[in-house]
């Protein structure tokens, strides 16, 4: 089952790929008890991360966009997840879940916990069906290997990595040989393009942002979805009123206030993201006639809070440079989080 609002006649120009657990949903599965509880939760008991649903709705509201969800949740949870997304008003085009029962039956225990061997082929398959010039923005989290998988996917489509490197990476990630062959085959069938604009990593575990520095400025670790919205405003994927609507959801449903929002804004500035100009767009949107923004007034306070955070920083450093990613040097990131070799920021 899929809920597809996309008009088949509208050309697809943007694809937003989302993970679910810890990216869209507030999910805890660090202990067996949490895992069991998550598995038996009903749709209305599941909680979305504040701002995620609003952000998706805004991204979807522009024509020509597709929402593709790839989750490590088991296929048995499909009904409840579809229901949850429906409750949140989130319409999607693809929802792919992990068939772990099949892995179990086949005795592929490494595949059950591995993420690279599951997500990478799914992404490549989906890309094969997409128009060559469709841009992509990807959303994941810091709980597993999303930054690694998404970056590798982006660089594979752009042909910035060689086949031997991909091979080594997949081996290190404990992907089974026949699956490695399948990935390589799929990859070669995809036309070369450079579609991935941003990779947002929701810092569910509050991993220090510097842990993602080796992925370059394309990967943006975020502490909340207001930050993602600000960057997407800078990238012209959203308009200022849309960002304000995401902000309103955070204020109304998750207790965000001037302090937390202005701090979030300053955090991005400090990390060198080019969003200084978006403040002006937000100010203009706030001063506009839109009645719904009354809930986030007084406007002068908001403007003052954001301005202060900019002024407090002094001169802005240059944005981080784009560099090729040396995947072989960060192979640990591709391994499951519980793997003994992956302990750097745990």
């Amino acid at each position: 089952m899929s809920v597809s609002p996309t008009d088949p006649n509208t050309p697809i120009t943007r694809i937003y790929r989302w993970d679910l657990d810890k990216t869209y949903l507030q999910t805890e599965f660090d202990t067996l008890r949490q895992l069991v509880r998550t598995a038996f939760q009903k749709a209305h008991e599941k909680k979305a991360i504040p701002g995620a649903a609003a952000l998706i709705r805004e991204l979807r509201s522009t024509g020509g966009s597709r929402l593709c969800i790839v989750s490590g949740s088991p296929t048995q949870m499909r009904t409840v997840l579809v229901e949850k997304l429906k409750l949140d008003g989130v319409e999607f085009d693809e929802l792919v879940l992990k068939d772990n029962l099949r892995n179990l039956v086949r005795g592929r225990f490494k595949a059950m916990r591995g993420q690279v061997g599951y997500k990478l082929p799914v992404l490549l398959e989906s890309r094969a069906r997409a128009p060559v010039d469709a841009e992509e923005v990807l959303f994941g989290d810091d709980a597993e290997a999303d930054a690694f998988i998404y970056s590798l996917y982006a660089d594979m489509v752009a042909r910035r990595v060689s086949e031997p490197v991909v091979h080594s990476v997949l081996e290190a990630a404990e992907v089974y040989p026949d699956d490695i062959d399948r990935v390589i085959r799929q990859w070669k069938e995809i036309p070369q393009a450079d579609p991935v604009r941003r990779i947002f990593i929701n810092l569910d575990r509050l991993t220090p942002p510097a842990a993602f520095a080796h992925y370059g400025p394309r990967v943006v670790p975020i502490f909340n979805y207001f930050q993602a919205a600000l960057v997407l405003l800078g990238d012209k994927h959203l308009t200022a009123p849309q960002v304000l609507r995401v902000m309103i959801e955070l204020v109304q449903t998750a207790g965000y206030n001037l302090l937390t929002l202005s701090n979030s804004f300053q955090d991005l500035l400090r990390r060198g993201l080019p969003i200084a100009d978006v403040a002006q767009s937000l100010v203009e949107a706030l001063q506009g006639p839109a009645a719904m923004f009354q809930v986030v007034r007084p406007v002068p306070d908001i403007i003052a809070a954001f301005s202060k955070r900019v002024v407090a920083l002094g001169a802005q450093p240059p944005p981080p440079k784009v560099r090729d990613i040396d995947y072989l040097s960060i192979l640990d990131d591709a391994r499951p989080r519980t793997h003994k070799k992956r302990r750097r920021f745990e």
Binding site: L206, S264, A312, L313, G314, P317
Partner: protein, 343 residues
Amino acid sequence: MNQRPVTIAFDVMGGDHGPLEIVRGAAQLTLDTPHIHALLVGDRAQIDLALSQVRHHAERVAVHHAPDFVAMHEKPNAALDAKPQASVLVAAQLVREGEADAMVSAGHTGAGVLACARTFTLIPGVRRAALATVYPTAVGRGAKNDPFSLILDVGATVDASADDLVAFAVMGSAYARIISKNENPTVALLSNGTESQKGPARVVEANLKLQSLPGLRFIGNVEGVDIPKGTADVVVCDGFVGNVCLKMLEGVSETVMELAKYAYKEKLLWRAGLAMLSSGIERIKEVTDWEQYGGAPILGFDRLFIKAHGRSKARAISNAGKVAARAVSNDLANAIQALLPRA
């Protein structure tokens, strides 16, 4: 329970381990206590670098760039005159402007006190500020079974009058009530005898005034020996006596540690004895761990300044921030003012 957000300004450039450990401490605070926000004041590039490498909650952290700082060897007055953008002064100004509710610094004590004096306002009824510190004692007190007594002043006001000593007593009592959760702390004057007429004229006069002051549990005079015994929860003296006392107590502790090291090296039997006592020694270290207390408050101003130890690492800084936030949440300045005698 939802607590009112409290913002603590941290002078990131101060201390032996700044800026990294100060940033780490503030970052830890944002993880432990959702209602506390950290405003990091100092060199922006160094703060950014340190912050990007530690777990923190960015929604609860802001940075304010201050390009200068006061080094430990500098004379406070001259340094603050020459460096209006010194981190400790900028932090104090941000507190005055309402950008933060209190400040924490592990840097130059004199510069910190002077920055407060230049920026904050004394509470009505207080003529001079006092630097308070805690000292581990033999007894626990208050809801937290706190082993620390509070001594003030230990250096801010060298020459205190009787009225100053009364104000110090009030400030110390209010602080102990809020921070140690000691509902009715005992307060004593430090003198050379327990009799009320003992000591210099200002101490005798202060004793008389304190006896008739309502709302304060004044127990009279105590002697130096009563400090480690914990006879009083709050010990009041002028800055000269307090500082001499504090340094002597620190000297005694260091000498004991030196003797223990000597004993450890000298004889196998003594070493065995120390080994047998090791769990007890560890327990004493835990109980008297200054890092858990965070820092020493400068009392008397309308805004709070917690002076963290120069050697403070992340844990001590984080605890100093918690102490500052608790004092702010409990409105320490008003609590002091309510207890002060009417002029």
